[in-house]
Symmetry: C2
Subunit: 203 residues, 2 copies
């Protein structure tokens, strides 16, 4: 069985939980805190991920794979979650690198600051810049989704999973999703896919 | 023929020039400025990349592919620059996502601030933080390369190209590479690979 080194507040970890659920692959989780340094211990750095981050999937033979989108890529190979067409494969990659460079550092970080740090954190000063850059990323998604059901081709793929994770909880970072009807319809479509599980189990 | 929407100062664009050279694929380039807004014109956003960034490869049929590491992935398929083993493929992805999230935003941005902005730019205040995070990324590379010739498996791959681009010019961002003998040896190995071209043509 796979072991997911996990955190319930991490959209990056949720990506992996969602795909494993939709693939019907059983796994257990080990939970880590976000701000308690538990992913930066010498043991974690030596044995799980030298970059000190979750998610990491530990395989039954002990090998560990880090980086959420690399994990999605690994498990999606030869499944319906990754296209067979070479151009569409590259487009999946384009959206996943876009997510990590131009979306997550703003949309996820705003959520982190507003939900995980004290109300008087000086990092609240970052919110206007995070919103400016996060809205720019959301606009690019909205423009694509206005006349397409999914981000690549005609099918739900790991590109959608990668972008869905933090987009569907963007309001926790005080982003206003009412401006983006196509994104909201896409969120609804993803929630209806087989094997869907919510990010927060109580939802 | 392919058209690379390019900038000579961009390590992300250089990744593409290097791989296309090593694959022997002819291409022409269109140059853009880094700070003149030329990648944010309405025409560029509509026709080349809605995210307003280079590099972008334009195919003979007019389709455009953005995100440097997605471009590397596309062209490396079924070549010696991408492994055939599924685990090693995932490891290539892990390093490429690491590069875009944990390396480039620090190592590349320090170079940008110190070489492209005025000496009195207030952004120089970012340098200590960029160095702290950039050195953390370089240490992870050094630890891997201390007993391996390349980042994944035994072979030069697009993971090496992705990390080489900004690492080998890190000193332009005032990073001290003398601390990292394994990285320096790896840089030397890459410079000896067939079809290698330097980032700056005059070098």
């Amino acid at each position: 069985m796979y072991t997911l080194h996990d955190n319930t507040e991490s959209g990056n970890a949720y990506k992996v939980r969602l795909l494993l659920s939709q693939l019907g692959l059983p796994y257990r989780t080990i939970q880590y805190g976000v701000t308690d340094g538990s992913t930066r211990t010498p043991e974690f750095l030596a044995n799980i991920n030298p970059n000190g981050r979750i998610p990491v999937v530990e395989f039954p033979d002990g090998r560990c794979l880090a980086e959420s989108n690399a994990i999605l890529y690994y498990f999606a190979q030869d499944t319906d979650f990754f296209p067979s067409d070479r151009w569409e494969q590259a487009e999946v990659m384009r959206w996943m690198f876009f997510e990590q460079y131009s979306h997550e550092p703003f949309v996820a970080v705003a959520k982190f600051i507003l939900t995980m740090l004290p109300a008087d954190s000086p990092r609240r000063a970052e919110i206007p810049t995070l919103h400016e850059k996060g809205y720019a990323a959301l606009k690019i998604m909205e423009d694509r989704l206005r006349d397409h059901d999914f981000l690549v081709g005609d099918s739900y793929s790991i590109a959608d999973i990668a972008l869905f994770a933090y987009t569907h909880v963007a309001e926790m970072g005080a982003f206003d999703l009412s401006r983006y009807p196509a994104i909201r319809a896409w969120i609804g479509r993803i929630k209806g896919t087989p094997g869907y599980i919510p990010m927060y189990p109580e939802d």
